[in-house]
């Protein structure tokens, strides 16, 4: 294996223990009943990646259908308008609720967070397992919902369409309700863990920034997700019993639904991005071999993003019929979230400045993130600005914006983090060249797919459109070609990672020279994480050659 490790990290500092968390006990049952956060993390990882694959396939179909305005493929109509509506809805629902919200916290966070804190496990291991099973139940219900008729409401479930359309809306909504509780349990667990299970000597400002990010995320999960739960309950009741809260025919107010929905779903976009930012805050100092610039500022900005995210939801409703005063206030508040995001951006760049930067796969992802999230975030400003949003809302501009932040931000960070912790999780190194190739292809394909969509949108192409005017065809076609490049890149990445699993353990304990506690244990870690309780001696990201008294 030609792995050129450019790190200063000590390779294979001590002999690899025979027994690790993967082989400590055997059999499916030992996995299904495990309360080990590492195993739960791995199971979550398998789950969310499957969901990602499913959502990705739906996305490729969306794009394929839009290849030309007649939806022709080899002389046949690929799908009807109804099918198209179902496909993009399922794409959105799966990507948001099954994949991206649990992705980083529940998969990587579960695995890494207790290790980073020097803890033996999360605060409530059984609750952790329960959260995973809720996710599975939610996923199974969602898949059943797809098989028995699917839904065509869009992932936003806007009333009164969602209360009147046919299809398995109630089932889907209940699936999402359950997924919400899965997310709440993860959140409760992480808040309690961070509060009570830090290693001796680890103060709040000695925590790695990943932990800060996940902690902020957990706050949102706890405070916002219950409102999603009650919203979906009301929606289901409305459908089944016509209680008349959202349905204008029964005296309800459809705009109220949007308040309920976005009160959760705007904070939810920070449930998505904060963990992504958290990963980037690990990758950049590690691969720059330089201490994190502005550590405290980044930590505070995570928390302040979490709190600010609760007061801007109305920016999704500028033209939805909320009052004009509310529109103005929400627009003003929206700009506030740009500040902490910018602070992070600049601090990451500050960390790279004068670093000693090696471009291994995770760092390539980190740099992709900086560029793509930069575009995604800055186009968010176009949408937060009142006069431009009126023109841009509900067009492909919005679609492009949120793919840049979700796919270009969170997913890129997630895959970067996956490569970063892969040696720790599996004990194997993947092939560096193919890793880098996958990253570059995804980057190129992504920009092909979604940069074009900004132009489509600002030109006036509405979203969720099956038919479109001929004038948009070239751009749509180009976007579709891009999606194939993404698919190719993702496939290379997936094969590369999976292929590494066939090798014997070959990863050193600390392949990248990281300074946080997870690198202090073996790869893969032993069942109880550490041989002995680690005590924090140095602050994280301290890359000075010799340890200095703390």
């Amino acid at each position: 294996m030609a792995n050129t490790l450019t790190s200063r990290g000590k390779i294979a500092d001590h002999p690899r223990p025979e027994v690790n968390y993967l082989n400590a006990s055997k059999g499916i049952w030992s996995w299904m009943t495990t309360v080990d956060h590492k195993r739960i993390g791995v199971m979550y990882l398998v789950g969310v990646l499957t969901a990602f694959l499913m959502g990705g396939i739906f996305a490729l179909f969306v794009r394929l259908s839009l290849l030309n305005p007649k939806h022709m493929l080899f002389g046949k109509v690929l799908m009807s308008a109804e099918t198209y509506n179902r496909v993009f809805t399922l794409h959105g629902v799966i990507m948001v609720f099954l994949f991206i919200i649990p992705s980083i916290p529940a998969a990587l966070g579960n695995f890494v967070l207790p290790l980073m804190l020097g803890a033996k496990d999360v605060a409530f291991p059984r609750l952790n397992l329960a959260s995973f099973y809720l996710w599975v139940i939610g996923a199974v219900m969602a898949v059943c919902g797809m098989i028995f008729g699917a839904i065509d409401t869009g992932w936003t479930f806007y009333t009164p369409y969602s209360t009147t359309t046919s299809g398995t809306v109630t089932l889907m909504v209940m699936a999402v309700f359950i997924l919400g509780f899965s997310s709440i349990f993860t959140g409760i667990n992480f808040v309690a863990t961070v509060h009570k299970l830090r290693a001796p000597g680890m103060g709040w400002f000695d925590m790695p920034l990943f932990v800060w990010g996940i902690y902020s995320t957990a706050i949102i999960q706890v405070l916002a997700t219950p409102v999603l739960g009650i919203t979906l309950c009301l929606l289901a009741l409305e459908r089944v019993f016509s209680i008349g809260i959202f349905d204008p025919k029964l005296g309800g107010d459809p705009v109220l639904f949007q308040h309920f929905f976005w009160f959760y779903s705007h904070p939810a976009v920070y449930i998505m991005i904060l963990p992504g930012m958290a990963i980037i805050s690990e990758l950049i100092p590690t691969f720059s071999r330089k201490t994190m610039f502005g550590y405290r500022a980044v930590a505070y900005s995570s928390v302040s993003l979490a709190l600010l995210s609760f007061i801007v939801w109305g920016h999704h409703m500028f033209v939805a019929g909320q009052s004009q005063l509310a529109t103005v206030i929400f627009s003003a508040l929206t700009f506030l979230v740009a500040i902490p995001s910018g602070v992070k951006m600049f601090n990451w760049l500050g960390t790279m400045y004068k670093g000693n930067i090696s471009l291994e796969t995770p760092m390539l992802y980190a740099i992709s993130f900086l560029l793509l999230f930069g575009i995604g975030g800055l186009t968010g400003i176009f949408l937060g600005t009142l006069s431009t949003d009126v023109h841009l809302t509900d067009t492909y501009f919005v679609v492009a914006h949120f793919h840049y932040v979700m796919m270009g931000g969170t997913v890129i960070a997630f895959i970067g983090g996956l490569h970063y912790w892969w040696p720790k999780m599996t004990g194997r190194m993947y092939n560096e060249k193919f890793g880098a190739l996958g990253c570059v292809l995804v980057f190129i394909g992504f920009n092909m797919t979604f940069l074009t969509q900004f132009f489509l949108g600002s030109k006036g192409m509405p979203r969720r459109y099956y038919n479109y005017l001929d004038q948009y065809q070239p751009l749509h076609a180009f976007s579709t070609y891009g999606s194939w490049v993404i698919g190719l890149g993702m496939m290379i990445t997936a094969v590369n990672l999976l292929a590494s699993l066939r090798k014997p353990y070959d990863a050193p304990d600390n392949p990248w020279g990281g300074t946080t506690l997870e690198w202090k244990t073996s790869s893969p870690p032993i069942e109880h994480n550490f041989e002995e309780q680690p005590v924090l001696e140095r602050a994280p990201y301290d890359y000075r050659p010799e340890p200095v008294a703390h």
């Binding site: 059984r126 219950p226 739960g229």
Partner: protein, 233 residues
């Protein structure tokens, strides 16, 4: 509820230290952690109910007259009775926790049973209230039957949807609350059985404490539901 059921049950263990989980350094840390977890859970409950309160508020602002007239159909004395019952049950609950802290098994079991009894009384009263509503067709908009006193009508004499909306919220909010009471009864019974087996002591009584917190929250929510539905003009 979940935190308590999931993390502390080992029915065969006796005495404090058997409950100590390996990933906590001390029992103290373990206790504090479960407290934090429970409070976080209670916060999610507050927001879950909170959504309904917001919905109620918005609809009340939309249909002030209808809500005013509709609330006259609720029986204020029954609501007040239930408030008193729940307050007393909160008191017996906290006395139960105190008894656990004082190693007084008998009193603990007694207070838990008293609490359950109060909960049952509450549910009985609710049952009578509900059946009255059903008889009078005081139901969500689709099934609501106009009452003689309803003044907000359109030209054709159809009553406003606001009346039904009031009862939609009435049923959803008291229903969700009633569901919590029901869950509470099961939790209390479970705690009472374990207490009877002598599993709790002044060293280890976390489940009692956590179920207590849950129970007080259920009470706390009713404290708001009562004036909102029964009293407000």
């Amino acid at each position: 509820m979940s935190t308590s059921t999931l993390d502390f049950h080992d029915p065969h263990a006796h005495g404090g230290d058997a409950h100590h989980q390996h990933h906590f350094a001390t029992m103290e840390q373990q206790f504090d952690t479960s407290k934090i977890g429970m409070w976080l859970f209670l916060v999610t409950e507050v927001l879950l109910f909170g959504g309904l309160f917001v919905g109620f508020g918005m609809m009340q602002a939309r249909y002030p007259q209808e809500f005013l007239e509709a609330h006259e159909h609720l029986q204020r004395p029954l609501g007040a009775l239930n408030t008193v019952v729940l307050l007393i049950s909160s008191f017996t609950m906290v006395m139960g926790v105190l008894s656990a802290q004082r190693n007084d098994k008998k009193k603990l079991v007694m207070y838990l049973i008293l609490t359950i009894l109060c909960a049952c009384v509450f549910l009985c009263v609710k049952y009578f209230e509900y059946s009255h509503k059903f008889e009078e067709h005081l139901l969500p908009p689709r099934w609501y039957q106009a009452q003689p006193g309803d003044t907000v009508r359109d030209a054709a004499g159809n009553v406003s949807h606001g009346y039904g909306t009031f009862f939609a919220f009435y049923f959803m909010m008291t229903g969700l609350h009633g569901f919590h009471i029901l869950v509470g009864i099961f939790l209390l019974a479970w705690i009472a059985i374990r207490a009877n087996r002598g599993e709790f002591s002044s060293k280890y009584y976390t489940p009692v404490d956590l179920v207590g917190l849950y129970w007080h929250l259920v009470d706390l929510i009713w404290i708001y539901l009562f004036p909102l539905f029964y009293l407000i003009k």
